[in-house]
Assembly symmetry: C2
Homo-oligomer: 354 residues x 2
Amino acid sequence: MTDETINIEGAVCAPPLHHNEQIVMGHGAGGRMSHQLIQKAFLPAFQNPALQAGDDAALVDAGLRQQLSISTDSHVVFPLFFPGGDIGKLAVCGTVNDVAMLGAKPLYLTAGFILEEGLQMESLQRVIVSMKEAAEEAGVHIVAGDTKVVQKGKADGLYITTAGIGVVRADVNVSGANAKAGDAVILSGTIGDHGIAVLAARGELGFQSSLQSDVAPLNHLIAAMLDASPNIHVLRDPTRGGLATTLNEIATQSNVGILLDEKTLPIHPEVAAACEMLGFDPLYVANEGKLVTMVPREDVEKVLAAMRKTRYGEGAVIIGEVTAEPKSRVLLKTNLGTTRVVDMLAGEMLPRIC
Amino acid sequence: MTDETINIEGAVCAPPLHHNEQIVMGHGAGGRMSHQLIQKAFLPAFQNPALQAGDDAALVDAGLRQQLSISTDSHVVFPLFFPGGDIGKLAVCGTVNDVAMLGAKPLYLTAGFILEEGLQMESLQRVIVSMKEAAEEAGVHIVAGDTKVVQKGKADGLYITTAGIGVVRADVNVSGANAKAGDAVILSGTIGDHGIAVLAARGELGFQSSLQSDVAPLNHLIAAMLDASPNIHVLRDPTRGGLATTLNEIATQSNVGILLDEKTLPIHPEVAAACEMLGFDPLYVANEGKLVTMVPREDVEKVLAAMRKTRYGEGAVIIGEVTAEPKSRVLLKTNLGTTRVVDMLAGEMLPRIC
């Protein structure tokens, strides 16, 4: 760390878990508190190599010819409907993307619905149609489901938990642990669109916005990238906790540094304006249709070209590089020429964003 | 139908779905209203052969040597802890059992947690330990998870959605659609234990009870049964909606009749007493550690013998037979010598039982 380094999140420390501790909203924000909950409560009990790998999906061997990628996400976004999407589209895309990020072709989804008594059937139907359309676009089948109903007030309309499985391409080896010094860091488009669109839908922006959530299935984009270069090292979608948290996860898993160049970060002007007004850093705002990838230098041009030919990758840009030092750290070269540490999200910023 | 036939549930008709309709608790009870919701809202959107088969798990082909069995269940049981188990054990066993009921060896689970702000960490830890123990007993690994937090009051402590996958044994062909006239109907033990144990935990029984939920992983029982006879036609766990609803599902899927003999139905005396007091029919009370199976006559003795050697099948008995007529109907020969139709659960009986 240089003298210019300022740890913007370091002052906020999440406490260790104690038995008399209670769950707080920050445990669900996808940042440091979520990580501590997982590390201290879940991992010791459920330890197995697939879970401990720390990726958003698990790589498992079912005694078959090819490996499977398995993932799950619970969705509690509020409100249920927001510009650009709804909880149904989110539930399908979120799991499709997590499965695909290990270099897999997603095939099948399951969906567990927790419905609130009094939910309008019309709302449920809209969500179902939206799931159907997203599944069709992604080319996956929803093959198993379950429905439970809880009393009025015990859920906000509905919660959806999806799980997905896919078959891993035999020619690739993609993991958050595979970033190598010298890799280029490529981002598929603007950051923060989803989080700010959901805030807008809650009426918390204080101004009119035409911003749409970026929620989208990224599996076809990923297939195009892997067709262009099976040597891609890392694929990850920066959802809850934003790009900053995702890059910190990768830096830790791969034991490398990541150096970002602030001036290259694509940010929609409305997102920038909203963040400035609300005091948010767009690096921590959730995305639902973006990916970040670490690519060996020699393959960067062909990967970028392949991405830019796709619907969800046309805004792809290089935003930084993987460095040997400082290990497990993300640094940002700011527009002012200084360098600061970008930590992972410490607690809660935007609850119920996905 | 004979003159003696009385349709005990027929008087309660669930309305068709309209757009201005609302979700009510009965949509989550696992009976006729749940079926209508699935048939009218979910199936038309997500149509694919695996889902339409109507089993508790989906049989899919991932382009691999063997078929996969996939299932999911959301768990919202209240209270979280009850005699004999808790929501964690339930979440693991429920999905393990659904995956296994297609003749598969369950391998991997995912778990999505929706936590209520203010949940005691100690409660979460107890649930996690319970999941770990159930997974170990079943021999499955929990390979992917997700945690969301909702505001206080927006969940009852926690909800857990599990999904599971298993590899289908190559030598079997088990489905709710495979029951054949002449098959024996075998039940693995007493009915109604889970539902009444949860009621007792809610303090709704009005008397002290030592009854325990039967929640248990049944995959080893199923493996022993299929080792004894790969010709087993149907395996199904009678959970929400009870044995009556499950048998109606099978009668419809297989287009056969099922004739039960009331005097053979194993019912724990405390369950019988509680049901009599509360006006419940134990045929509709939930089980979480029982299975019903349809077995060709020539294999009945060896299947029964294999079941009785296992921990969760020692109380196995023949409770009836599959008949050619009346199609899609379940009949019960009562202790009085009359015969009545046993319909599926029409609406809600015991909410939040799993």
